[in-house]
């Protein structure tokens, strides 16, 4: 197996995530925390993020389905989700969360619905891309000579 090629693919995918605005510099913070003591730290927290965010988004879905819309509750859920996105560096999702919260403040339910669809799309795309990235990293195996990824 061509490990060099796999590592290049992983690096390219990673660069694309930053260049296309899916991730911001907060993700570098997570990468910097990964070391011999926590060799899979980034993948672990990313996995936790997608698990927790899926749960939050299910709550938001339920709240949006209700006949009587509770904008305060929706805003609280979305603030939580935005906080999670901030901590992991999920930049595009964070932007859409902000837009959703503005719609909550305006009590604009249609705007909330549209915004939430965007959040779901961004969530799904980011998940796919990061899953592909970590899969490539696993296939490529550990780097013999550790080099800092280009930022």
């Amino acid at each position: 197996m061509d490990y060099v090629h796999l590592r290049r693919q992983a690096a390219s995918l990673r660069k694309g995530l930053f260049d296309q605005g899916y991730l911001d510099e907060q993700f570098y913070q997570l990468e910097d925390l990964q070391d011999d003591a926590s060799p899979n730290f980034v993948e672990e927290v990313v996995t936790l993020f997608f698990r927790d965010s899926a749960r939050l988004m299910a709550n938001i879905d339920q709240a949006l389905d209700k006949c009587v819309k509770d904008f305060n509750k929706l805003d609280v859920y979305m603030q939580q989700l935005k906080g999670s996105c901030t901590s992991i560096g999920a930049s595009r999702m964070k932007t859409e969360c902000t837009a959703f919260r503005e719609c909550c403040r305006d009590e604009n339910i249609e705007g909330c619905m549209r915004s939430f669809q965007k959040i779901k799309r961004e969530h799904s795309v980011l998940r796919q891309k990061l899953e592909s990235y970590f899969q490539l990293l696993r296939q490529a195996g550990p780097v013999e000579c550790a080099t800092r990824p280009n930022k």
Partner: protein
């Protein structure tokens, strides 16, 4: 300081992965770490007689939010250092009035944490 030289930190945040991030940062300093998911459980830690040197307190949590938890701890006479860490910038005054020692906006970075620990003399 809590009894024994080991710095004891209580992480209060309802996000699993946020707690994971904080824990990984704090492990680098070999601190003793406890984590809870909300303000109510944070209070219970102290009611149960546990001692901490530092609390990292989120704001928005179920059961009891960080502001209320901070206010309650101060009302109990607990002198622990409380650092509010939230993405809700508007809550700064409320947190400080409730008795927080510091207020930080998420995301917490390693350098922010180091600065805070230094300011409290937790790093020798």
């Amino acid at each position: 300081m809590a009894s024994s030289q080991l710095v004891k930190v209580l992480i209060v945040d309802d996000d699993n992965f946020t707690r994971r991030i904080y824990k990984t940062m704090l492990f680098r300093f070999c601190f003793e770490i406890t984590e809870v998911e909300d303000g109510k459980n944070a209070i219970q830690q102290f009611v149960d007689g546990n001692e901490y040197d530092l609390v990292l307190m989120d704001k928005h949590m179920p059961n009891m939010d960080g502001v209320e938890a901070t206010r309650t701890l101060r009302g109990m006479g607990i002198p622990v250092k409380i650092v509010a860490i939230t993405d809700d910038a508007s809550s700064k005054d409320t947190f400080m009035d409730a008795g927080a020692d510091k207020f930080l906006l998420k995301p917490l970075t390693f350098s922010m944490l180091t600065d805070i620990l230094k300011s409290f003399n937790f790093l020798n």
